[in-house]
């Protein structure tokens, strides 16, 4: 298998943790709430899913449990940020640290253990194509994740719910004047963000690399946060960014497969370096951020 076809086949799976977490955060940020705790929510979801699957609960129950656990953690954040009106940055960091601590605590007895992954489901015909065939042979979560992406895009863009979420983020006072429950909608959006971060962690720990190691999320939650900025809060660009980062994070394996001798620490740093470079390039375009950005992002809303 050439390095290129290896990357093409694997990039969607590698992209999934970024994609699921970033889509959840996108919805939360669209409603005007900045939750910096994704890394911790993913870590919690990862350990919960791993334990459930390891106790042979199956992947479906593992994902549900992970989603619920992370959503519960996101509710601690939501309560602090929305009810108590605490500083959103500090509240996000706090639940992030809490989630990573809980993840290490619960995962201690599972260090270096493995669980079975998921089988690949292939599209007949297409998966036999040269070079790009691997793209059409993915596990069930990837297919479901792509469907969910489509659903989130359509909801934000065309449905009344999406319009209300965006209105709440854009101008909460006007939304309230129109009779919408700003705080309630923000709670819902944050909970959705938590649920998706839980799924993202579950995928990372039980499907993508089904082996438990403390700190296995390794900054992917933070990159997901950066992805939302890269994508200038647009769903389609989140997908593009997530797949790009999936490909970048595969480069380490691909380089080995292709016999390229590159320093392994440098390769491990590559996603972080790319994040910094892209963040600089996108953020420098202030006009773009202003047009697409969420006006009330991070600001508390008082009654």
């Amino acid at each position: 298998m050439s390095a290129l076809s290896f990357i093409i086949a694997g990039m969607l799976a590698a992209a999934m943790p970024f994609l699921l977490a970033a889509l959840g955060e996108l919805v939360a940020e669209r409603s005007g709430v900045l939750n910096l705790g994704i890394e911790g929510m993913m870590a919690l979801g990862a350990v919960v899913a791993f334990i459930v699957v390891r106790q042979s609960g199956g992947h479906a129950i593992g994902f549900v449990a992970a989603g619920l656990a992370s959503a519960a953690l996101s509710m601690v954040f939501a309560w602090l940020a929305l009810a108590v009106r605490a500083n959103q940055v500090a509240a996000g960091l706090a639940i992030g640290i809490l989630g990573q601590g809980l993840s290490a605590l619960f995962g201690k007895r599972y260090e270096s253990l493995t669980v079975p992954g998921l089988p690949k489901l292939s599209v007949p015909g297409l998966s036999d194509l040269p070079l790009v065939g691997g793209l059409f042979s993915q596990d069930a979560v990837v297919w479901l994740g792509l469907l969910a992406t489509l659903a989130i895009w359509a909801t934000l863009r065309f449905s009344k719910l999406g319009l209300v979420i965006r209105a709440v983020g854009e101008n909460p006072h006007a939304a309230r004047a129109l009779g919408y429950n700003v705080i309630g909608i923000r709670y819902g959006a944050v909970a959705f963000g938590g649920l998706m971060a839980g799924f993202a962690g579950a995928y990372a720990a039980t499907v993508y690399t089904p082996l438990w190691a403390e700190g296995m999320i390794a900054g992917r939650g933070w990159i997901a946060l950066a992805l939302v900025v890269f994508a200038t809060w647009m769903t389609g660009r989140v997908v593009f960014g997530a797949v790009l980062f999936g490909a970048v994070s595969l480069s380490q394996l691909a380089a080995q497969a292709g016999g390229v001798a590159l320093n392994s620490q440098l390769l491990a740093s590559l996603p972080y370096i790319v994040t910094i470079l892209v963040l600089g390039a996108i953020s420098a375009n202030k006009r773009l951020l202003k047009i697409n950005g969420v006006a009330s992002l991070g600001e508390p809303f008082g009654r």
């Binding site: 602090l80 601590g101 900054g219 600089g280 008082g302």
Partner: protein, 357 residues
Amino acid sequence: MGIRMIRRTTASRRMAVLAPMGALALAIVLNFLLYIVMGNDPAAVFYALLLEPFVSWSSFSEVLLKMTPLLLIAQGLAIGFRAKVINIGAEGQFILGAIFASSIPVWFPQATGGWIWPLMLLLGGVGGALWAVLPAFWRVRLNASEILVTLMMSLIAAQLLAYLLVGPWKDPMGFNFPQTVMFQWDAMVPTLIPGTRVNVALILALLWSALAYVYMQKSFQGYQLVVGGLAPHATAYAGFSEGRAVWLSLLIGGFAAGLAGAAEVAGPMGQLQRGISSGYGYAAIIVAYLGGLHPVGILFSSLFMAALYIGGDNAMVSAGLPVAAVRVFQGSLLCCYLAAIVLVRYRLVRDGQEAPA
């Protein structure tokens, strides 16, 4: 009947002291419930985690040793946080400080003289500040969030450290462990209290705290930073640019974290190795917030967090408490604090009841 939050006309000083204590009490209750569920003996954990660090001089001296990096880093971070410059990359700046300081004993292991350790601390500070230059430039010139960039720089710093320790800086006689040579005597910060590991860096951390107090509470520039954080437009009119606040905040925070990293390798560690940090850079964020971003408050919060580290080690040995429980305690303590601190600026009033003036 619901409860409403009414903004106080002035912040309550009584609550500013009571709220952190209430938060601590709540965090203790919540975490001990968790320990009971996990099957740990709560009385044994309580003694080991919260009392034992203070009962003997030898363990209290270890608390002071741990307090040193937390105090240094948190005082630097708090200056930025008050100016709304959120540097969460102290971990990386700490690592770079440790690397820069280690360059002298690694490259000149035979060097002697009383100038070595002060120069190492200085180099450490410079290294930490240099690691903060890119995030500052990215924020000021490219408008990129310093939160994300500083964090990415920390993740890169960890890889850089790993590279040095398995590559060019690995101790050739070290049985292939990822660590440098042990530093020579003159590369070590002198011990302050005989019979303990507490060293001169503690004095530096206390001096740094006094300096932070004067800078933030008394100087005009510190005042501008704080006002800039509260009302950026107002300070822009007054001719104080946001860019300057970003540069100052990140360079001060980076220098302090780098100094702490240097003091760690030239103190309790005595060499550069993987585990130089124990997450001080992240813990210091909690220390800064728990101290109310105030230099005096941070003295107390850094002492408490240091005791929690030592107590966590004790509780692991004597009561079988996993190390990760300390991080859970830290995170939940910050959550409780953020909830409690709201009482400083708001009063709670029942619906239908008039707020007393």
